[in-house]
């Protein structure tokens, strides 16, 4: 039996631990808040100078650059977070001025050096800064950081590579999706999408990658960025890829690309017997494509044995305009034998009546 004294001691010890931890939390918050206020106070006098720089032109801008390049280290370290934030919020001459300021302060060179530091925080922060600066000379080092031992550094490097918009990074970004040190597909997709049209040729090459995840991400990016010139490659992925996930993403990409070439392969992906997720996405993509030629096939799917395929077909018909709507009204009259088509058609028409078609949530969730 446990003595009363022991219980009291345990409760008191627990109470003491709670008090100490609470005090520590309050203290740490207080110190951080004080430090933040101190930094803000230090930055305040030079923030005005920074805004002047962003709004200045020609000689006036050069003069202000010299003044800001000459501020002391303490003021710069308080101001630098503002400069870093503004790099992503201003464009044109203002952004160029900030990049020049980083160069004049030696902060760009310091960040390049920091990429190889022992501290993961410094490596990650350096990658972030160089990405914001779109400092392309750092691309090879950033590509190496995709294999960093720290997952946060790998993510920071991937994001930075996207901002640098150098197509040379594409093979490295696709490679870091698999292996012992990976970067999440969402981060890679975002980085590849940020490369812009120049990078899409390299991304399309990724459709032949031996890893299915890399192919899936590549086809997703082509659809997301509207790379219409790569429609043929996406069609090939839908028809011939060995992995269902790649085919599903290819179907979705064809819907987003909206090219007529996507119609036939999408129609070929919807018959019964294909994977249900692929059928749902392909049916939804036919709606996105807006091809009225798909009307009879979509109308036939209204009494599909899979209710999700049938419901998606009904919503896809709505997106085809008057012709699709006429097919829905015809199905809604209940002339078909089992009544499922009429139910789906009525549901879609009712949805449209109360505020337009919903996105095909089921299809998105399926992936």
């Amino acid at each position: 039996m446990i003595s009363e004294g022991l219980v009291t001691l345990a409760v008191l010890s627990l109470l003491a631990v709670v008090i100490v931890l609470s005090t520590l939390i309050v203290l740490i918050r207080g110190v951080r808040s004080h430090e933040q206020r101190r930094r803000e106070r230090t930055a305040e006098p030079v923030r005005g100078l920074l805004f002047e720089l962003l709004c200045a032109e020609g000689d006036e801008q050069n003069r202000l650059l010299e003044r800001l390049a000459a501020i002391d280290r303490r003021a710069w370290s308080a101001l630098e977070p503002h400069v870093a934030e503004l790099l992503e919020k201003v464009s044109g001459g203002a952004r160029t001025a900030l990049i020049r300021l980083y160069g004049l302060r030696g902060a760009t060179a310091a960040a390049v050096t920091d990429l190889t530091r022992h501290s993961a925080v410094r490596r990650g922060r350096a990658a972030q800064v160089l990405g914001r600066l779109a400092h392309t000379p750092a691309v090879p080092t950033l590509c190496r950081l995709l294999d960093d031992r720290d997952p946060e550094v790998r993510r920071a490097a991937a994001r930075a590579l996207g901002r640098c918009r150098d197509p040379a990074a594409v093979p490295y970004l696709l490679a870091c999706l698999t292996g012992p040190r990976t970067v999440p597909p969402g981060v890679v997709t975002h980085a590849l999408s940020a490369l812009g049209p120049e990078g899409m040729r390299s991304v399309a090459v990724g459709l032949d990658h031996p890893e299915h995840l890399a192919r899936a991400v590549a086809v997703e990016v082509l659809g997301e960025t509207g790379a219409v010139s790569r429609t043929a490659e996406v069609v090939h992925a839908l028809r011939a890829d060995t992995h269902a996930e790649v085919r599903i993403r290819a179907a979705r990409a064809l819907g987003r690309l909206g090219m007529p070439d996507g119609l036939e392969p999408l129609l070929a992906a919807v018959p019964p017997g294909r994977p249900v997720a692929l059928r749902i996405v392909a049916v939804s993509a036919l709606g996105s494509l807006g091809a009225v030629a798909a009307t009879p096939r979509l109308a036939a799917l209204l009494d599909d044995t899979d209710p999700h395929v049938a419901a998606t077909a009904a919503r896809a018909l709505l997106r085809l305009g008057p012709q699709g709507e006429a097919a829905l009204r015809s199905a809604a009259d209940g002339s078909r034998p089992d009544g499922r088509a009429a139910a789906h058609a009525r549901a879609a028409l009712a949805e449209a009546a109360v505020g337009g078609t919903r996105l095909d949530v089921r299809a998105e969730v399926a992936l």
């Binding site: 923030r47 201003v90 203002a94």
Partner: protein, 124 residues
């Protein structure tokens, strides 16, 4: 010279916009959220409002709808500010009654020109 209201929870953007517009000769009222924007509109009626779409609490869209719903502010010119990644918000902004929009990243010069263009359009 016009009185311009800027509502943005990002202090750097708010201060930069205020600096640029003041430099261009306008009087600027800077606030950090939607509720404060509505208060400022009542207390010091501006000639134009620049509203960040995404603000905590009351968004720029909500502020715009409120302004359009009230008779005394129904015709106040409104420019929405949004991030590139949220470009879909632009359409919703126009539906809410905005007159123009600016996408971040923006150049301070462009911002000033847009403000002046909207003000000139309204004067006509």
């Amino acid at each position: 010279m016009a009185r311009v209201l800027i509502a943005d929870d990002d202090a750097d953007i708010r201060d930069l916009v205020a600096f640029k517009l003041t430099q261009s000769g306008h009087e600027v009222i800077a606030v950090e959220d939607g509720m404060a924007a509505l208060r400022a509109v009542r207390e010091q009626p501006p000639d134009l409002a620049l509203l960040d779409i995404r603000m905590p609490g009351m968004s720029g869209l909500d502020v715009c709808r409120e302004l359009r719903a009230a008779a005394e502010t129904a015709n106040l010119p409104v420019i929405m500010i949004t991030a590139r990644s949220q470009e879909g918000d632009v359409e919703i902004g126009f539906e809410a009654g905005a007159d123009d929009y600016i996408i971040k990243p923006f150049s301070p010069r462009e911002l000033s020109s847009r403000v002046n263009a909207v003000l000139t359009r309204v004067e006509r």
